[in-house]
Subunit: 414 residues, 2 copies
Amino acid sequence: MHAEIITIGDEILIGQIVDSNSAFLAKELNKIGIEVSQIKSISDKEDAILDAMKDAQKRVSLVVLTGGLGPTKDDITKSSFCSFFNDKLVHNQEVLDHIEALFAQYLNVPINDLNRAQAMVPSNATLLENRFGTAVGMWMENDDTVYVSLPGVPYEMKHITNNELIPKLKTHFKRPVIVHKTMMTYGWGESQIAEVIHDWESNLPEHIKLAYLPNLGRVRLRLTARGEDETVLTDQLDRLFAALDPLIGEIITGFESELPIQAQIGDFLQKRGQSIATAESCTGGRIAALLSSTPGASAYFHGSVVPYKTDRKLDVLGVPKAIIEKHSVVSDEVALSMAKRVREVMKSDYGIAVTGNAGPTKGDSDAAVGTVCIAIVGPDNEEVETFAFGENREKTLQKTVNKALEITRKVLAF
Amino acid sequence: MHAEIITIGDEILIGQIVDSNSAFLAKELNKIGIEVSQIKSISDKEDAILDAMKDAQKRVSLVVLTGGLGPTKDDITKSSFCSFFNDKLVHNQEVLDHIEALFAQYLNVPINDLNRAQAMVPSNATLLENRFGTAVGMWMENDDTVYVSLPGVPYEMKHITNNELIPKLKTHFKRPVIVHKTMMTYGWGESQIAEVIHDWESNLPEHIKLAYLPNLGRVRLRLTARGEDETVLTDQLDRLFAALDPLIGEIITGFESELPIQAQIGDFLQKRGQSIATAESCTGGRIAALLSSTPGASAYFHGSVVPYKTDRKLDVLGVPKAIIEKHSVVSDEVALSMAKRVREVMKSDYGIAVTGNAGPTKGDSDAAVGTVCIAIVGPDNEEVETFAFGENREKTLQKTVNKALEITRKVLAF
């Protein structure tokens, strides 16, 4: 059971936006056993759309198109559907009622002809309701291939996918089971891991595939299994990963879950009735922004102080001047003091602190560009470490955030 | 002059990562007049790679592949190149020297056979140096089509593109001029704008194209012109946009520049020798993280206080308890007080403050989910406004950040 995703829009082809819709769709389709064999981004011209629709039919039984639906002139997916399926647009009163209700509820302007035109849909299309927007989703079939068109606005597309498309696909297609599991490692490079696990990898069964996914010091190892029975496949992956423990146990930091690490930290703290706060210099609030991005974060996240200027570390956070003068502002001692101070200021159980120099120039310290000190202080334990993350500013900041959350996990010991 | 981008990797097809490489490449190619007509993400199997390479040759004169290069088994682009070009892998001493130097400089482990294999390259390939990694870029030609292979690790890919690929493309191909200009608006929907500018849009010359790009309350209007002379095209776009002033002047917030809005704010402050700080409740440090993401931000960004818990607004930031009790924690009065207090605490000229309830549940205030108050206070002026951003938490947070930066621009009056 293979699918193809086609995203329509010149804004992708000129690099004005990154296509994140495809990743969302691919993940959701994969979860129900539909394998995406290709993703294509094309121009919003009827020729390009028709070519892509025809081309996909040779290979797959499901084609999901996003984008190219909306009130203005650059939206031509509906007319392409009519050409492809030899159909015509007809007025749909239910869609018009919905558009009028949306305008009445959210906007202060009267509905115009362009909006009214959005209630014109191909006569043979099964419609997929778009509760949050005026562009309706469409499902049409040609021989054994299903074509689905979704709007490009991400939250509308996601809503239709979860509430309309996925349930319909589940009943329409017979699908195999696909199970992924991803182990996370930190510390070794891709080739070093590959050398050590070579025999294990060579002995993987035919239906299970390994991929190495390196990124900013982390290498993730992903196993993908295809088969009939989810329990059996999951069990096989668990056993295979367990066999890696004696080989690379020292670098394994856990398994990738549906939850990002900041949500895992939040869950753990909330269950224990504990709280956390951050004091961030070079990262400028990125760790706080991540910790607070999880719904319900106020149960465990108390807040943050970002003393970007050196003096603010003294007067706002209360780091003793003597420590900065003795050890310099980028030092383990200052990071530890910041973590301790932010626990007190924010009245939290744990404090994460970061002080460093991400570049491009040396700041108020003598530390080389890329030097970052990270400290985590809790009620009973503390951890501090200095890193040399290199000269790329953005990379250094991202690595710092990753590393700070990894160390927090270690200190929390979950 | 058309190009196609092919990204190789199952991690994209299962939705594990978002393909941001293509957007970068598309933008860089576009800048030098090379139009990307299609972007394709495919599996890391030799069949899929060869099919995509063949298929692209029918349509374009440049094919850029990313991913599928690296030390481990799942990397098969080089063997696909050999099949496609009927070539064979040969040892390249220069590449090996480079790999050995990288290992000596950055890693503490000896080079292994997998790394040594990375010095094997197709005998007819022109190599594109990868200063930051072990996977070298390749340039090969077949009839009139150029095929380029780049590693998938984003910073390595970007570096090779900017330093090796773009200069080589500039000399290799004769290219037309493409000019984009994007106007930003805030306040009206797509269809309302389209109705008002209908006549203007209908009269656009053949070589200039308009696109509407709606996102979270902003609608961007992008004009794309193709021709011979950059000055002439730029002048045409300027005149066309100027003609929109009398039609939609009230909603125009500016033009999209290469600089994101936080960098524009930073530039402006730095030129005037002024500084800024943020006090953020529901946004949890996102505005601070953005303001500090620009290299050199320490020249104008003093820091942030994130009093996520209501009580921290009192004890850390010093908002008077009476104001919170009288007006509730989500109110214009509290936002203004936070902005004033953070100016004092962080000793900055401007203070941005946000207090709101992003949901999913009401918090310490009676304000409906989605209510956010944003205040900007400067030496001579202040601005405060309350918004109803709706029930989607993540959307509310993003809209708040966008809106806070827009209001800051307005208060700074640039």
